[in-house]
Each structure stands twice: as structure tokens, then as C-alpha cells.
Amino acid sequence: MASLTIDKLTKSFGSVEVLKGIDLEIEDGGFLVLVGPSGCGKSTLLNCIAGLEKTTSGEIRIGDRNVEGLHPSKRDIAMVFQSYALYPNMTVRGNISFGMEIRGIDKDEQQKAIDEVADMLQINELLDRKPSQLSGGQRQRVAMGRALVRHPQVFLFDEPLSNLDAKLRVDMRTEIKRLHSRMGTTIVYVTHDQIEALTLATKIAVLQDGYLQQAGSPDEIYNNPVNIFVADFMGSPSMNLIDSTLVERDGQLEIQIAGHGGSSISLPAPDTPDMRAHLNGPVVFGIRPEAMTDPDGADRTSPHIETRDCFIEVSQPAGSDTFALTPLGGKECIARFRADAKIELGAFTPISFNMTKAVFFDPQTTNRIR
């Protein structure tokens, strides 16, 4: 087990720069999730850590060892692939023992290690089957078994759950989390699914276009996004990003938002030097759906709730909650009501804004205004 440090890492394919100076660190035993839309460079970063791609510049350290130029098998890592990458010509047993065989570990020890892993993952009955005879979930387990048996310092997962159906995905997610807490190994996990990121990670790194946008705990990423991209990417349904104008009234800063028809609402804004710099200009007001509720559902611990009448156009019951759609700042915003809240469609209904959760962004730079 070891920490992982990535320092000013760049990677180019020919003239195309895919990673543009990544600095990232995960402590020993941590669970780092790399998340971002497809093409953001997260898989390339993982491959660089694994040693499957050569880095162009920068440094990767596992523990205090610089692994630059080291063959993947010597970096003391294990990897689980999106397609599981099970060797089709070998049995499950062969798949798990292949690495040990290559390293020349003797048969008895191999057998012991296989048994141990098979017990842990409950795949004992599958050992003599070929991958083609396994279901998706079973393949997933075998792929993890193959990685586990190495007892690596760092586990790498490349979108391991994306080929599973929804139910199985939830199960496996739990299983991975349990394995992590049991073994305490450092994990780097790539996914484009932000739910996975939030549930699994101790640290999330959001990537876009080869840049690291933000790295931090799930809570930080969720509640304190540094820019519009992170805010928009994390969370489902995603954060409402509402165009508004910052004005000063009676010495108080407030934002004005266009509502239904000619109506508009205004909400107070924090008075900071940064905010003041945007006075009388456009700002993007970000607020998560769960911070826009029916007044009865509002968070009672929050010190700052503002309630405004908004025009409800559509409601979408989702079992535990009901989503209400209201036009704000020229687009549909989602508010999250209690399931049994009364909603009258086509009429103005009070919505409580939990302003402690509100964030503001500069529409030009897309960065957070603190």
C-alpha cells in the first residue's frame, strides 16, 4: 500500500496534447475517482499510471518510488478493465494465476492465492469455466479476482461497471466499496458516472479537456464546485445554473432573475469584494434542485431560507420526490419537492431557496465568484 503522486504530467499523441499538466495526489489507502466526460483524458491518465502509455513529461510516484519508465508489471499495480479483458482461451483459474505463473510463483502458493481470492469473491464454482461461459457480473468478479490476487500497492479500475445493467451496477458498487474498506488498498478509479464517483471516492478529480478542473472530497466537489463545468457535471439532476443580474439595492447586493412571462424574482447575494466586482453585470446563480423545495420541505437547519413565488410548468413525480420545473433566467429549472407536496400546475407556487447552498459564477470565465 502506498500513496500516489502525479506531478505536472503531460501526455501527447503526436501533436495532440491529451493531458495538459496534471498535479494530483492521493494518500495511502485513499480512493481516488477520476471523472469527466468521454475524451477528457481520464483513461489516458490511468494508462499513464499503469505504465501502458508513456508520459510525455512530468512524474508519477507510487509511494516514494518514481515509476517513470518502469514496466507495468513492475509498478506493483493491478488493473480492472472496462471489458474485463479476461483471456478468452484460459479458464477462470488460468486467468487469475496467469500473472503469478509469469512471475514464477510456485504451484502451491498459486493455489493458495486463488482459493483465497475465490472465497473472497465467491467464485469458487466458476474456477474451471471459460470466460465465455460467465455472466457479466461473474466476469466482473473474475476480473477483480485477477487484480486482487496480486496484492498490489495501487488498484486501477477503468470504468469497471459500465458494461453491467443498473441493478448489478449498484450491487457491484457496494461490493467494491466493501472490498476497499476491508483491504485498505489505494485505488484509482475511472468513471464517467458521477454517482459512482460520489458514492465511492474519498477524493474526486474532475477532468475536462486534459485539465484537472478540481480535486477534492466528494462533499467539496458537490457543494463547492470551482467552476460551472464541475457544478454542472456533478450531481443528478444537475445544478440549476441561472442567468441573473447582480444589483445593489439599499446597500444590499441582490440578484435579479427573469421568471415566467414578464415577472421576475430577486434574491439576496453575499456581499464580498469579488461579488462587488460584478455589480450591475451578469452572474450565474447556481443552486442544486434539493435546495429549491416547497416551503414545508425546506432544510430547517439552514440559517438562510428565502421563499419566492415561481410559476410551475411541469411536475415529474419520481417516487420519493417530485420534480417541479419552473422557468428562471430563461431556462427550465428543477426544484425538488416532497412527494406529497401539493403542486398546482400553471400557477405561481412558493419555492424556498436554501441560500446557504447557493454559489455564483462569472459567466465569462465560468469560475466561481467567492
Binding site: G69, L70, H71, K74
Partner: protein, 292 residues
């Protein structure tokens, strides 16, 4: 150190093949290019004469006949083989009983060289002993099939035999392509109410594009190299009505002691081939890169 070796291994592994191709193909092409500008006759020599051989070559009626024949033969051969191959593959894809047997029958000609079948074809096409004679014996007196003896038609008999040899192979390629088509697409089309013929015409055949391209490469390569076929069946005759560039090249290089002219014809042929094939290869390789 060992990792270093692993880094270089791919190049080291590829090197022997690459060097072999470089020397045995491109080196030889350069050498032929040089020969084409020398006064080589029976054996290669180094008396440089510039482009005289090319001038001579294009003045030869023989050569223009060979080129014309290749154009006729190549076009018909490629088109008929592709169409027939596709047609047979579609027929065979209709849950046919004994498919394995029929497929093998269609495929086997590719296994046999024309040194073997040339005589049989020659006999078969010969009006005196072959098909025409048989038809006459069976009572169809007016039946006529004298193409191989007719200098305007003989090249088409070469096409018949060549199609016989390779269409089965093309059929196998298309069959493989058809078997690879996703059933859901067909089901979707059926739900849309498309008829069988329409499904093939509008959906399946357009999906065979990669197969058409592979078939094109294989067939072009076979068409250009068609040599045994012509020698075994007509020897270039009647007269020189079935002369093709490959036979021309061979006879000028080896039997007419005009190696220089032979080499220049080879170079012209290579230029023609490359101008057809290179754009295709280029797009294919580029395409492949993008997919990865």
C-alpha cells in the same frame, strides 16, 4: 535494460519482414526501373539509353492490344466476380439445405491452378470437341459456341474461366459479411414493412461496403497477375487477340530477348496498378487510424 529491450522489440521483430520487402520488392522495382532505361537484351546490361524503350513500347501495336485486353478483362472480371459472388452469397444465405456442400463446390476452383484446369477449359470451350460438339451430339444442331476461336470474342472466354476460378472466393467473403450483419437491423427493417428484396437492396448490400473493397483488392491483384490462365487457354491467341500485359512482359523479357522493353512494360504496369491501389490503401489506413 530489459525494459529497454522490450521497447525496441516491436521494431526488431518487424525489421526482418520490412527489410525483406524493401529489398525483394522495392529494390527489385528500382532495379527493373533501371533496366527499363538500358539496352538490355538477353541478359541485363548497363548501357543507358534513356527512355527509348518506352518510346518503342508505346509504338508497339502488341502493347496497345495487351492494354486494351487488360482493361476489358479486368473490368469484366472484377464486376462479374463481385456481382456473382454477392448474388450466390445471398442465395446461399436463404437457409439452404446442403449449404456446406454447395459452398465447397463454389469455393474449390480457387484451390486449383490453371496448369491443372487449363486443358479442361480449353477442351470444354473448343467447338470441335467441347460444349458445341456435345450439344450437337445431343441433337441441338444449331448450337454455336466458337468464342475461343474468334479473335473478337476470345478474351471473353478468358473472363468466363477466370470468373469460374475466383467468384467462389468472393462469394465466401460476401457470405462472411452477410453472416456478420446484425439481425436487429433486419428485424427493424421488417417492422418498417420493407420487403425481402428491399431489405437487401437498401440495407444489407450497402452494409457490405468493406467486403466490396476487400474483394476489389484481391480481384485487382488476381487480374493483374493473370498469366497462367491466358497461357494455358489460348497462349495469347487467336493471333494475339488475348495478349495481356503479364504475357507481354514475360515474352519480351524472356523469349524475345528484349529485356529493356519488357522492363519498361513492367514499370508501366506497376504505375497503373499503384495508381489504382494506392488511393484505396491510403484511405483504408487513414480510416483505420481514426477508428482507433
Amino acid at each position: 535494460m530489459r525494459d529497454r529491450l522490450q521497447d525496441w522489440l516491436p521494431r526488431i521483430v518487424l525489421a526482418p519482414s520490412f527489410l525483406a520487402i524493401l529489398v525483394f520488392v522495392y529494390g527489385f522495382i528500382l532495379y527493373t526501373g533501371w533496366l527499363s532505361m538500358t539496352d538490355s537484351r538477353m541478359l541485363p546490361n548497363n548501357d543507358f539509353i534513356g527512355l527509348d524503350n518506352y518510346v518503342k513500347l508505346f509504338a508497339l501495336k502488341h502493347w496497345s492490344i495487351a492494354l486494351k485486353n487488360l482493361a476489358i478483362f479486368g473490368t469484366l472480371y472484377i464486376v462479374i466476380c463481385s456481382c456473382l459472388g454477392l448474388f450466390l452469397a445471398i442465395m446461399l444465405d436463404q437457409q439452404i439445405r446442403n449449404e456446406g456442400f454447395i459452398r465447397t463446390v463454389y469455393l474449390y476452383p480457387m484451390a486449383i491452378s490453371f496448369i491443372v484446369t487449363g486443358v479442361a477449359w480449353k477442351w470444354f470451350l473448343d467447338p470441335g470437341i467441347g460444349l458445341e460438339n456435345t450439344m450437337h451430339q445431343w441433337g441441338w444442331e444449331s448450337f454455336e459456341f466458337k468464342w475461343i476461336k474468334d479473335r473478337n470474342m476470345a478474351i471473353y472466354t478468358i473472363v468466363i474461366a477466370a470468373v469460374w476460378q475466383s467468384s467462389g472466393y468472393v462469394m465466401a467473403m460476401f457470405l462472411a459479411g452477410l453472416r456478420g450483419v446484425d439481425n436487429e437491423i433486419i428485424k427493424a427493417a421488417q417492422v418498417d414493412g420493407a420487403s425481402g428484396v428491399l431489405i437487401y437492396r437498401r440495407i444489407i448490400i450497402p452494409m457490405m461496403r468493406p467486403v466490396f473493397l476487400s474483394a476489389f483488392v484481391v480481384l485487382t491483384h488476381l487480374a493483374i497477375k493473370s498469366y497462367d490462365l491466358v497461357v494455358a487457354m489460348t497462349g495469347g491467341g487467336p493471333g494475339r487477340a488475348t495478349e495481356v500485359p503479364a504475357t507481354f512482359m514475360y515474352s519480351y523479357t524472356f523469349t524475345r530477348n528484349q529485356m529493356g522493353v519488357g522492363a519498361s512494360s513492367a514499370i508501366i504496369m506497376l504505375i497503373m496498378v499503384f495508381s489504382i491501389v494506392v488511393p484505396y490503401l491510403y484511405s483504408e489506413i487513414r480510416h483505420g487510424e481514426k477508428n482507433r
